[in-house]
C-alpha cells in the first residue's frame, strides 16, 4: 500500500477496486461476529476454505468473512451471493453440500432456510425475512458486505469518499453546518445535538483539542457499538477524522470496553491500514490537515462511560466524574477542549456528508432524525441487532421484527435505556421510539438496549437487578448515590425475600428523590428510574410481594415452592437423578415427592420435567 497524496489518488484506487470486483461471482458471506463465533463460525469458515481448496475452486468461489450481520439468534449465518440466499444455523458438516448444491448447481437446501414462524413456509432470500424486511439498515447494513479487516472492501463500497469530499474544499464550518442541519443527536444515551457540540468545541479557546470515540458500551444487554467496531471499524474512523477536521483537532482517542478484545483488534488494524494509505498522519490526502488516533482500553467500570470519568481514565486516574458547570467542550481531556461522541454517532457522519442533510432529515421524526440500532434481546423470538428509522413503535419492533414473544408467552414490558432507563409496560407498547416519546413514558432512548420481558419476569426482581448493578458500579464519590443505592438494594432484597414492609415504598421514593437531586453525574441522578417505572406501572407486583408474600412471576426464590403434580408425574425418575441435593424421592414409575426442607430451589427439576409435572408456586 502506498500513501495516497490526493483525493484524486483515492478516487483512482477506488475505481480500480470497483473494476476488479465481479459482483456476479458466486461467493459466500459467513458471519463471524461474536454471536456466530460462539456457534462455531470459525469452524464453518475453515470448512469452506478447505472444501473450496479441495475442489480447486479458489478462483470461482469467493469467501467473505464478515462481522456481525445482526440476526445472532440464527447463527452461524451464511449468505450466498449474488442471489442473497440466506442459510441459518449452518454447521461445518453442511458446507460441502452448500458448495455442491447451491453454489455449483444453483439448487436450494430447504433444511437450512429460515421458516416463517406463522406460515411455516421456507423463505429463501435474506431480504424477504421479516427480521430484515422491516429494518432500515443504513449504518449497520454494510457489515454484511465487507471484511472488517480489509480496507479495500470498505473503499470499494464508497468508504472514505465523505472524507475525500470534506478535504476537497469544504470549510470546517460548512461541515458543522451540515451536521447541525441533519438534526443528528448523540447515540450514547443523552441525545445531545452533535452539531452543536462540535460548534462549541470548535469555538473554544486553545490550539490543542481532542476528539474521542466513546466505545465503553456499559449498558448491560446492548452490543451495537461492539458490532460496529468489529464489523465496520473504518466507518467509525472516517466519521472521527471528519469530526476532527471540523473541530480543529489533531489527536483523537478511542476508549474501548475491556470486554471487547476483538473490537480493539479490528480497530487497531483499521488504524494501521488508514495510516499506510495516508488517511491518518500528516497531510491527510495531500491536504494540510493532520490527525492520528490512540487506543485506550477501559478497565471494566461502567461509570467510565460518563464523559468526565472517561477522560479521567484516559489520564490514568480512577474514573470519577466531576461536576460539569464547565463543559468538556471547553475543558475536557488534559483540560483541553474535547468532543466526545458515541461509536454510532461517529458512524452516522460519513453517511450524512455523502447523502446530504436533506436526505437524512427525511428519516425519523421531528426531533429525532435518522435511524437507531437496538439490541433486541430477552424473551423475544428473533433476537439480534436491529436498525430502525426513529419513530416506529415498540410494537412493530417486538412483533414484526422480533417475531413476538418466545414460547407464545405474554409480553410484560420492554426495558430501554439500560440502568438509567425504565420499563415500558405492555399497554404502552404503541409508544413510538424517539428521544422525546420514550422520555415521556418514564424511560429513555439510551444507547440501544431493548430487553423484552414476559410474564415469567418479576418486575421487583428487575428493579433490584438494576439497583444492584448500579450499587456495584457507583464510583462512591457522592454520598446519595453510594449510600442510597446500598439502602435501596437492601430494601428491595427484603421485599424479594418476603420481608418487605408497607412503608418501604415510601422510603424507596424518598431515596429516589434524594438521589435525583443530590448526585453529580447521571449515574446517580437517573439510578432510580428502573425502580420508579416499575413502581409506577407494576405496583400490584410490589403489593403481592409485600402484602401477600408472593412472587406472581415465580422468580423470587424465598417466595416460591416446588412441588410435584400427582396427576402428571409418571415416575420417570429424571428429576430424582438430577437433583443435586437429593431432595426428591420416589420409586420408579410411581409419583415422586419433593422434600421442601432439603430443596434449594435451583429449579432444575422444573426445567427438565418432560411432563410439566413440577409445579412452581
Amino acid at each position: 500500500m502506498a500513501k495516497l497524496n490526493s483525493t484524486k489518488e483515492l478516487d483512482n484506487l477506488r475505481n480500480d477496486l470497483i473494476a476488479q470486483w465481479d459482483e456476479n461471482k458466486p461467493s459466500v458471506a459467513i458471519c463471524a461476529g461474536t454471536g456466530c463465533a460462539a456457534f462455531g463460525a470459525r469452524l464453518v469458515v475453515d470448512a469452506f476454505k478447505h472444501e473450496i481448496n479441495q475442489r480447486g475452486l479458489e478462483s470461482k468461489i469467493g469467501v467473505l468473512v464478515t462481522g456481525c450481520q445482526g440476526y445472532c439468534e440464527r447463527g452461524v449465518i451464511v449468505v450466498i451471493k449474488p442471489e442473497g440466499i440466506f442459510y441459518q444455523k449452518v454447521k461445518p458438516d453442511d458446507v460441502a453440500e452448500i458448495i455442491e448444491t447451491t453454489l455449483q448447481k444453483k439448487d436450494i437446501i430447504d433444511r437450512l432456510l429460515y421458516k416463517d414462524s406463522e406460515t411455516g413456509k421456507s423463505i429463501i432470500y435474506e431480504k424477504d425475512i421479516p427480521f430484515y424486511k422491516y429494518q432500515r439498515r443504513i449504518i449497520f447494513g454494510n457489515n454484511s458486505k465487507i471484511s472488517p479487516v480489509n480496507i479495500h472492501d470498505y473503499l470499494r463500497i464508497g468508504g472514505y469518499s465523505a472524507l475525500s469530499k470534506v478535504l476537497n474544499g469544504m470549510k470546517p464550518d460548512e461541515v458543522i453546518e451540515i451536521v447541525k442541519k441533519s438534526g443528528l443527536r448523540g447515540r450514547g444515551g443523552g441525545g445531545f445535538p452533535t452539531g452543536r457540540k462540535w460548534e462549541s468545541c470548535r469555538k473554544a479557546d486553545g490550539d490543542v483539542k481532542y476528539v474521542i470515540v466513546n466505545a465503553d458500551e456499559g449498558d448491560p444487554g446492548a452490543y451495537m457499538d461492539r458490532s460496529l467496531l468489529e464489523g465496520n471499524p473504518h466507518s467509525v474512523l472516517e466519521g472521527l477524522i471528519i469530526g476532527a477536521y471540523a473541530i480543529g483537532s489533531h489527536e483523537g482517542y478511542i476508549y474501548v470496553r475491556q470486554e471487547y478484545p476483538l473490537a480493539v483488534k479490528h480497530f487497531i488494524r483499521a488504524l494501521e491500514q488508514a495510516r499506510e494509505y495516508g488517511l491518518l498522519g500528516e497531510d491527510i490526502l495531500g491536504s494540510e490537515f493532520g490527525f492520528d488516533v490512540k487506543v485506550a482500553r477501559g478497565g471494566g467500570a461502567f461509570v467510565c462511560g460518563e464523559s468526565t470519568a472517561l477522560m479521567a481514565s484516559i489520564e490514568g486516574m480512577p474514573g470519577e466524574p466531576r461536576a460539569k458547570h464547565v463543559h468538556t467542550v471547553d475543558v475536557g481531556l488534559r483540560e483541553k477542549p474535547t468532543t466526545l461522541n458515541n461509536v454510532e454517532t461517529w458512524a452516522n457522519i460519513p453517511l450524512i456528508i455523502n447523502k446530504g442533510w436533506e436526505w437524512y432529515t427525511k428519516i425519523g421524526t421531528e426531533n429525532s432524525k435518522g435511524t437507531k440500532i437496538f439490541s433486541l434481546v430477552g424473551k423475544v423470538n428473533n433476537t439480534g441487532l436491529v436498525e430502525i428509522p426513529m419513530g416506529i413503535s415498540l410494537r412493530e419492533i417486538v412483533y414484526n421484527i422480533g417475531g413476538g414473544i418466545k414460547e407464545g408467552k405474554k409480553l410484560k414490558a420492554v426495558q430501554t435505556g439500560g440502568p438509567s432507563g425504565g420499563c415500558v409496560p405492555e399497554r404502552l407498547i404503541d409508544t413510538p421510539v424517539d428521544f422525546d416519546k420514550l422520555t415521556e413514558v418514564g424511560s429513555m432512548m439510551g444507547s440501544g438496549g431493548m430487553i423484552v420481558m414476559d410474564e415469567d419476569n418479576c418486575m421487583v426482581d428487575i428493579a433490584r437487578y438494576f439497583v444492584g448493578f448500579l450499587k456495584d458500579e457507583s464510583c462512591g464519590k457522592c454520598t446519595p448515590c453510594r449510600e442510597g443505592l446500598w439502602q435501596m438494594h437492601a430494601i428491595l432484597t427484603d421485599i424479594c425475600e418476603g420481608k418487605g414492609k408497607e412503608e418501604d415504598i415510601e422510603v424507596l421514593e424518598d431515596l429516589a428523590w434524594t438521589m435525583e437531586n443530590g448526585c453529580l453525574c447521571q449515574l446517580g441522578t437517573t439510578a432510580a428510574n428502573p425502580l420508579l417505572t416499575t413502581l409506577k406501572y407494576f405496583k400490584e407486583e410490589y403489593d403481592a410481594h409485600i402484602k401477600e408474600k408472593k412472587c406472581p412471576a415465580g422468580v423470587c426464590k424465598a417466595l416460591i415452592q416446588f412441588s410435584i403434580d400427582k396427576e402428571k408425574c409418571t415416575g420417570c425418575g429424571l428429576c430424582l437423578l438430577k437433583c443435586s441435593v437429593k431432595a426428591i424421592s420416589g420409586e420408579k414409575n410411581e409419583v415422586h415427592d419433593i422434600d421442601t426442607e432439603k430443596c434449594i430451589k435451583c429449579g432444575i427439576c422444573y426445567d427438565i420435567c418432560r411432563f410439566d409435572a413440577v409445579i412452581k408456586k
Binding site: P220, Y260, G299
Partner: protein, 157 residues
Amino acid sequence: MEIDTKKLEEIIGKYGKCKSTVIPILQDIQEEYNWLPEEVFEIVAQELGIPLMDVYGVATFYRTFSLKPRGKHIITVCLGTACHVRGGQRITETISRELGINPGETTEDLKFTLETVNCLGCCAIGPIVVVDGEYYGGMTSQKVASLLKKTRGGKRE
C-alpha cells in the same frame, strides 16, 4: 513472589513513563501473570515516578484488576440484563455449587476461578458462559454442568 523485572521494564518501556500510562501497564502485567502480585506496585510506582497510592488506587478501582491469584481456568458468567432475564443468576448458582466457590473466588487447588461480568456483548444468545476465552451461548444449568465436566477433564466441545 518472584518478579521478572526485565519483563516489567519491557512493558513499561512500551508505554513510556508518565502517569497516564499506568492503566495499560497494569493491564499488560496482569495479562502476563493472570493477576497483580503486590510486588509489582512498588516497581511500577518507582518507574513511573508516581506515589504508590496512585497505582494502588487505580488497581483497586477498576474491576479488571485482580489482586488475588486466579485459577488455571477462568469461568465467567454474564449477568448483564439480557442474560439475567434468561436465568444467568441460576447458572451462576449452579457453577458455584459445583465448584464449591462463590463468584470472585478461586478453588483451593487453583484450578478454577469463577467470575461474573455485566454483559459480554453477546446478548442475543444468552445466557452466556465463557470458559478460558471461549463463548458458550444458550446455557442451562444442565449444559453448564457438562461443560464443567469437560473442562475438568481438560477437553472441550
